[in-house]
Assembly symmetry: C2
């Protein structure tokens, strides 16, 4: 089921700037126990994205009602919300009074098959481009992720790692990356590129509560080999430990496991 | 009038990857004297873009017929062609057997009002990000151009100049840039970012025919002040001389004028 501006509709105008330019933002959120998870955090990022792109802000209460309607009583599902600037304007020039379009879509819960000991991560060749003006937000320009994800077809590889053009580790194609070194939790700085994931933010909050030191860092790909633990996060998968990246193997992951337990507890209490 | 896969239709599926990820390419071409201009060059770039994104190639004869149908006998018009990877796949992962969608759209000829002596160009704050994997092609990830074009509302400013993050001049928001210094035609290298415009290519060919030396260069914004001539190009506007960029003024532009005359002659002969 898809709602466009609140009405069941699975088509959008061919003139929409979301299609022409990727002129919009989106959120992908989990429905668990019938309820949207981390709703407030998703809405904060969505509104931040709209503000930064100067798209009029959607009504959050209305999005909540539509999310509930589209979730349709499912215990588990994925909801995708897309806000575009709508049609109009002249070429790239945005219209003076945009009429944003609001899509709320239901997807079945994905059937990822992931080994208990952790996932296999591969390093992608497609680089992420840097642009501080767009960094952090979840805008609709996602061709780099598509190209990176198209690099492998082997289902035994679960996620791809993306670097910027300078060789800094940024994130996975659909996830954020964390590493643990000497008991300290590290995650890449996203001020120049990358998506500031809602689950990344939750993990940072959880780590803080658990008294785990966190650092936002520049990380080189070669440094990952020397890490004690690696994991990736997103709103749907939660936390996936990494067991394998290239030649590197990661075994016992006490801090990752503590975070997974804390996250599970937090989700149960919601 | 809009054709979707050959049928009149002004809506597209909300699941289209063009909307979700900007997963596709486009062309904007001029109809002059009732005929599409530089058709072959546009098709070459479109096919190159599809190849690089691993989108099955559209049938060019079919696109030609649809362009003629959508142009609808107009003497002058703008036709926009969009090819997306269609729907399907799993998140960023492209479908194994994509069913590309083909949109052909008619726009009226734009009523740009441009002074005879040349346009006013402004330097944009929004940077262009670099990604050699996407450079040159006209893909649907155009948020940077939208952000740059949103920087000014004054109709007396005709185009915005965009730099990469390192301060290299790349192109205009909707055009390519050329400069003339000591009789030599210069245009920025586009191997790391930017769109390799069809008109840029034609101008390089024309200059070659006219015996004007051309160089593809790295250009710093500060160097533009010392240029003898500046102009911008695209498929619809042709060549626009620049008379003003920041504090810099450009007067007599003999090489630009030679190129404009040669281009006009070429268009008449088509």
């Amino acid at each position: 089921m898809i709602l466009l501006n609140g009405k069941p509709q699975d088509l959008i105008p061919a003139s929409d700037r979301g299609l022409h330019y990727g002129d919009g933002v989106f959120e992908t959120l989990a429905i668990n126990n019938g309820k949207p998870q981390f709703w407030t955090a998703h809405m904060e990022r969505l509104l931040d994205g709209c503000s930064r792109l100067v798209i009029p802000l959607p009504d959050v209460a209305c999005l909540k009602a539509e999310t509930t309607q589209v979730a349709d009583g499912c215990e588990r599902a994925v909801i995708k919300i897309i806000i575009t600037r709508g049609s109009g304007g002249r070429g790239y020039r945005p219209p003076a009074s945009p009429e944003p379009q609001r899509l709320v879509m239901h997807y079945p819960w994905p059937d990822y098959v992931v080994p208990q000991e952790g996932i296999t991560l591969r390093q992608c060749l497609t680089p992420l481009s840097c642009n501080p003006r767009l960094a952090g937000i979840k805008h609709l320009n996602r061709l780099e992720q598509v190209m990176a994800r198209a690099e492998w077809g082997d289902d035994l590889v679960h996620e791809g790692l993306m670097l910027d053009l300078d060789g800094n580790v940024i994130e996975g194609t659909m996830s954020n990356l964390f590493a643990v070194r000497n008991g300290v939790l590290l995650t890449p700085d996203l001020t120049r590129c990358g998506v500031a994931g809602v689950m990344r933010h939750q993990v940072l909050l959880l780590a803080h509560k658990l008294g785990i030191t966190c650092e936002i860092v520049q990380l080189r790909a070669a440094e990952l080999e020397g890490m004690d633990e690696l994991f990736v996060t997103n709103s749907v998968i939660g936390i996936w430990p990494v067991s394998c990246l290239g030649e590197a193997r990661y075994g016992e992951a006490p801090i990752t496991q503590r975070l997974i337990s804390a996250l599970n507890l937090m989700m149960e209490q919601k």
